[in-house]
């Protein structure tokens, strides 16, 4: 579906430039500070690529994903999708964009309407966009359910979501996202609410669909180990900024940023020897998003902080090795 002519200059399907999304939480009539959820992120995603965004809670990874598909207003910067500026889309144009870019949300329990059957929920995108007639729509629903291996499809269309398990519901969500045959899917922590044992199944399903349909996926996760196996490139976020980006194998195999290194050290592995030694960990907890530290946002927790520099100067994301960029004063 995507064509080369529709891409941005450097061959990216989706490109964010200096993207900022700021929120102003209200309490009563008064504004209380500003949350810089996404604060100057630049990111390009090539067609047929899976890019992982890795970060802990409060890193802004979900907001970044929602900004790319215009579910939150963009404060500053641009998002270009296949040559068009997504930030300024309105009305019918925005609706047309929704058809090309879809989302799979984190919580499969909350993202299905409890009042609609599975069939009606899958039909809804087609109805909204006026695609096909009744029989072709029903056929499309059946095909989508089979695609995500929810079978027998005929039995499931008339059931309500509360009869299904989390993994089944998440597959319904994936099927719904596929109904419009989008080119781009934002998968926002699609497996974090599912049992550890079922995660690999959902992810490999997504990967398989991506390969068969030629889709582009932004995979948002806090689980850096899954990013390694599921994505082509990885972007690590901390407090609204990008700290490291590059091919997943190098970012996770040879991490440069102390934060990325800490994240990797924190991943549990089923090695019985682990119980005899302490893990090296990042101290403290991420600061509140309303009070981002000056200079490098990570300097308050960084084990390799350079006194005098890190507190005052914010490092920029720069290529430290070919294709592998890091925002850290250690590599300047």
């Amino acid at each position: 579906m995507s064509n080369a002519a529709g891409r941005t200059a450097n061959g990216m399907l989706v490109e964010a430039q200096q993207l900022r999304v700021h929120f102003y939480p209200r309490s009563g009539l008064f504004r209380r500070g500003v949350v810089k959820a996404v604060d100057g992120i630049s990111l390009g995603i090539a067609a047929n690529e899976i890019v992982a965004v890795v970060g802990e809670s409060g890193s802004g990874k979900t907001t970044l994903g929602r900004a790319l598909v215009r579910l939150v207003p963009i404060t500053e910067g641009t998002v270009i999708f296949a040559g068009t500026d997504v930030g300024s889309l309105e009305g019918e144009d925005l609706k047309a964009y929704r058809r090309r870019a879809q989302v799979v949300f984190q919580d499969p329990y909350a993202s299905n309407s409890p009042f609609m059957t599975i069939g009606d929920q899958l039909l809804e995108p087609l109805v909204v966009h006026g695609i096909g007639d009744q029989s072709s729509r029903r056929e499309a629903v059946r095909r989508a359910l089979e695609l995500v291996r929810l079978t027998p499809a005929a039995d499931l269309v008339d059931t309500y979501p509360h009869t299904m398990s989390g993994g089944q519901r998440q597959r319904v969500c994936i099927a719904r996202a596929l109904m419009l045959e989008p080119e781009f899917i934002v998968a926002d922590e699609p497996v974090s609410m599912i049992d550890a044992s079922s995660r690999a199944e959902i992810l490999s399903l997504l990967r398989e669909l991506q390969e068969r349909r030629g889709m582009t996926i932004l995979y948002i996760t806090h689980d850096i180990a899954s990013a390694r196996h599921f994505s082509d490139r990885t972007l690590v976020m901390y407090l609204g900024t990008a700290v490291e980006a590059g091919p997943s194998a190098t970012v996770i195999g040879e991490p440069l940023h102390p934060y990325t290194q800490g994240l990797i050290a924190a991943v549990p592995e089923p090695d019985p020897a682990n119980r005899h030694s302490l893990r090296s960990v990042i101290p403290g907890e991420p600061p509140n998003a309303t009070a981002v530290p000056s200079g490098c946002p990570f300097h308050t927790r960084c084990p390799k902080v350079i006194p005098g520099t890190c507190e005052s100067v914010r490092p920029v994301l720069k290529e430290a090795r070919p294709g592998h960029a890091v925002a850290c004063h250690l590599y300047e």
Binding site: L29, L71, L94, R98, A110, V128
Partner: protein
């Protein structure tokens, strides 16, 4: 319990509709020879000080009381639900203004609001209905807003939005079906409140004027003149009124029963 309550309500509604057909006597016909007769086979609820049949008056009274209450709840329901749903869904400055106005109106004790409206308008059934409607509207608005808010914050609406659905589809297909059950349940309870309010206003002498035999008016007449000598004149219509309100509350509670959950219809 719920079924009995619903049945009773159906009987009351039906007899109100057909009062002129089924009432054994003319509610206004006076018969001096039968003054203050206690309940009997002929006069089920006895007779009042003018010898009028209390049962027939109760049947006809149901008409006035129910009509006033229904009109009031319909008006408050339409205005309050649309305001509440709109402000809950839209949010922003509109919501803020609606909320402040509702806050001010909620500061008024229910009867005080109804009372000043009745005083300002001339006493007539329509004025009483308007008064009750105005007193109910802020309550309905608040409940509707809460219902809309609880749905509007659901993640699945973001999902629907992300498929490209517009505001009208979201409101009509998702917000309304989800917030309707608690709202309808609340309106049933409101109907009870309105019937009680009509009775209270009429009892206080501020409601439906004579000759309409509304339930509240009958309470007033009976309790003023001959409560001690002929309590049935007051207590019989009072009991019917009371049962009706209780049944409305029971039915309303059943409709809004949290045990039914919000899981949607269950297939068998």
């Amino acid at each position: 319990m719920r079924i009995a309550a619903a049945l009773f309500l159906a009987v009351v509604a039906l007899s109100a509709l057909t009062a002129s057909l089924i009432a054994p006597f003319d509610p206004l016909e006076q018969e001096v020879g039968r003054r203050l007769a206690p309940p009997s086979a002929t006069h089920l609820f006895g007779t009042d000080g003018f010898g009028r049949d209390v049962f027939s008056r109760t049947l006809h009274g149901a008409r006035v009381s129910l009509a006033v209450a229904l009109a009031a709840v319909a008006a408050a329901g339409v205005i309050g639900s649309s305001l509440g749903l709109a402000s809950g869904y839209a949010g922003g400055a509109f919501d803020l203004v609606v909320q402040r106005v509702v806050d001010v109106l909620l500061g008024f004790p229910f009867l005080v609001m109804a009372l000043i409206v009745v005083v300002a308008l001339s006493p007539a059934p329509l004025a009483v209905a308007a008064a009750i409607a105005l007193a109910l509207t802020p309550l309905v608005t608040r409940v509707a807003r809460a219902a809309a808010l609880s749905v509007a914050n659901e993640e699945y609406l973001t999902v629907v939005r992300s498929t490209g659905a517009g505001a009208s589809r979201i409101v009509l297909r998702h917000l309304l079906p989800a917030s309707a059950p608690p709202l309808v349940a609340y309106l049933a309870t409101c109907l009870g409140t309105a019937i009680g309010a009509e009775a209270t206003l009429s009892f206080l002498g501020l409601g439906v004027p004579p000759p309409y035999p509304s339930w509240g008016r009958m309470l007033q007449e009976g309790s003023r003149a001959y409560f001690d000598a002929a309590p049935w004149v007051t207590l019989m219509p009072g009991a019917v009124l009371c049962l009706t309100v209780v049944c409305l509350v029971v039915v309303g509670d059943a409709m809004g029963d949290p045990r039914r959950g919000r899981a949607g219809p269950i297939r068998h």
